[in-house]
């Protein structure tokens, strides 16, 4: 329980820190912010004046921060000039798409990589182990951008999957099954790119943890007692290997979010990635801040989830507090 509270506190502190950091960015040359807006003929001087007053640029910094946080809490993330709409709703749709992509990619990656890693570490067949190991190393070494562009080229040349965007034209007219199928076909390319990048990392980590566990004295003792291989693996080795593997989750999420940005832009998937890129190129800085904050929140939430998993799986952490007394 204590562990949970501590982790929750840490997550909240990190959220605070991220918000402070993003706020610091908004304060970086705020004048030039609006100067750039002034150059944009689509925005009238009156709008700029209202926005300036709205963001209270004349008040001291802590008040500005409080004001900003309040408006965030109300759901007011600022205004996006390019799309001519408030940032909030824009962000939501995009965030949902990114969530769909990243959640699916996460589940699939771990579903494939963990058994692969465990099998590779525990099986006796050296050749398969080395093959898997080499493939993982290769997958890690190739930069995501290359994987993305290469797979895109392959997909486009050979018309294997539907490329571009999330849905086809006339999506709404399709039946439920048709919709699912359409979505699935569009997801194939981005998911494949993400999988190629992610499986290698996770598999290597899992394999390393499991082989380390399998080599320990107590595993050898269990083996000499005649406990069967399957039971050894699932009952004795894996629960211990779970801890370092779950701890990987945070770093994995960070890498995945970064990769998803790339993949979304390259494949045209309408997520947070293309949004933040367009916003950067068109100097829509409120959008950038909001998108960055959102991605940070996603990560912190994901990390917290991993902490929960850790508590559930590792009895040492649950009992740790009791012993510390």
């Amino acid at each position: 329980m204590r562990f949970l509270l501590r982790r929750l506190l840490r997550a909240l502190l990190m959220l605070l820190g991220v918000s402070l950091l993003c706020f610091a960015f908004t304060q970086m040359a705020p004048g030039s912010f609006f100067d750039e807006m002034r150059l944009n003929p689509q925005i009238s001087p009156e709008t700029i004046a209202t926005l300036r007053a709205h963001y209270g640029l004349n008040r001291p910094v802590p008040i500005r921060y409080a004001h900003w946080m309040l408006s965030l809490a109300k759901g007011d993330f600022g205004y996006c000039i390019a799309y001519n709409s408030p940032v909030g709703p824009l962000l939501w749709t995009r965030a949902k798409n990114t969530l769909l992509l990243t959640a699916t990619a996460t589940i699939l990656t771990w579903l494939i990589a963990v058994p692969l890693g465990v099998w590779s570490a525990s099986s006796r067949r050296r050749l398969a182990d080395r093959f898997i190991g080499a493939s993982s190393s290769l997958m890690i070494s190739v930069p995501e951008i290359v994987v993305a562009v290469a797979l895109l080229a392959v997909a486009v040349r050979w018309r294997l999957v539907l490329v571009g965007g999330m849905v086809s034209l006339g999506f709404d007219d399709l039946s439920l099954w048709g919709k699912v199928r359409d979505l699935f076909l569009h997801m194939l390319l981005p998911i494949s790119i993400l999988l190629l990048g992610g499986i290698g990392v996770v598999e290597r980590h899992v394999r390393a943890s499991v082989s380390e566990i399998l080599d320990t004295p107590y595993m050898n003792a269990a083996r000499s007692l005649g406990i069967g291989r399957m039971r050894l693996l699932f009952r004795h080795a894996l629960p211990v290997a779970a801890n370092p593997v779950i701890s990987l989750f945070g770093f994995f999420l960070a890498g995945l979010l970064g990769a998803s940005l790339l993949v979304e832009v390259v494949t045209g998937w309408p997520g947070l990635g293309p949004l933040i890129l367009e916003a950067t190129l068109s100097r829509d800085l409120y959008v950038v801040i909001a998108a960055t904050m959102l991605s940070a929140i996603l990560m912190i939430a994901g990390n917290f989830l991993a902490d929960l998993l850790l508590i559930a799986s590792d009895p040492r952490i649950r009992d740790g507090e009791a012993h510390a007394q």
Partner: protein, 337 residues
Amino acid sequence: MRNKTAMCVLMIALVLVHLALLFAGFFAPYDPAAQNRDLSYAPPTRIHFVGSTGFHWGPFTYGMVKDFDGYREDQSQQIPLRLFAKGDSYTLLWVFHCKTHFFGADRPARLQLFGADAYGRDEFSRLLYGGQISLAAGLVATLITLAVATIIGTVSGYYGKWIDEMLMGSAELFLALPWFYFLVGVRAFLPLHVSPKETFLLLIIVIGVIGWARPARLIRGIVLSARTRNYVVAARAFGGSDFYLLRRHILPETFAVLIPQATLLIPQYIAAEATLSFFGLGISEPVPSWGNMLSTLQQYNVLVSYSWLLAPAGALVITSVMYWRLADRLHYWLQSH
């Protein structure tokens, strides 16, 4: 023993690659910025040994002529390849003016080993010059990260208490952020259109500074444990100052961590520069970098028809894989010591 030879081979290969890129002017047959609208999207020039007059020892090529919807070779004139040919002038190592290139061919042939891009610029030459930029970005950004990480990690580990808590807390914060999103975010706030030199500097500073957290934690761990070692305590008993203790006893311990970290960071930073330049947030035209050379592939017709423009991707893969393999081997080697 095998591990050691593998490491040496990799290191030598990497050094050779870096040297080749350093002398890009010499190995590239053409000026990377020289446009040639007649040869827009020309395919790679083919090298022949057998021509109308039979087999030749020296390789030769033909000129390219624009055809119906592509290019064909103009077989009327056989133009031999030369070693150490005279070509466009360039500056070797930014100091010496030279005109000799490693290989080349006379006009009207244009020896474009990897074809030409939209403006008719030689892709191979751009690859070499672009490599300079991309690799330099990776290396310098790594240096910046490690420098910042060493300073912060050392201060944190050596002085401890609230400084340590504060610095490591912010490190956790930085680690909690999705690195790449943050990179784009920070880049967004910096001026978009500046001179290529400033862009380069900006880019490497941003990439370098953001990545300080993980190596800083490692260094802090080392400094922390080294600080309590008895020989450090004894040296203090002899009257050694903080500076002496750090210089003589503590910092040398960090090298064992800094070098593997460097081999891990360099390929990641090269990839980061490539990705940012791909999106138009990094090095901008006309300066070539492997990233911005790949950005033309965002156009459908380019992606489908002109596959030679994927050359920078190949270059990225080769350098990246070599660095990662080196990092792996280094890791094994250090573990067994």
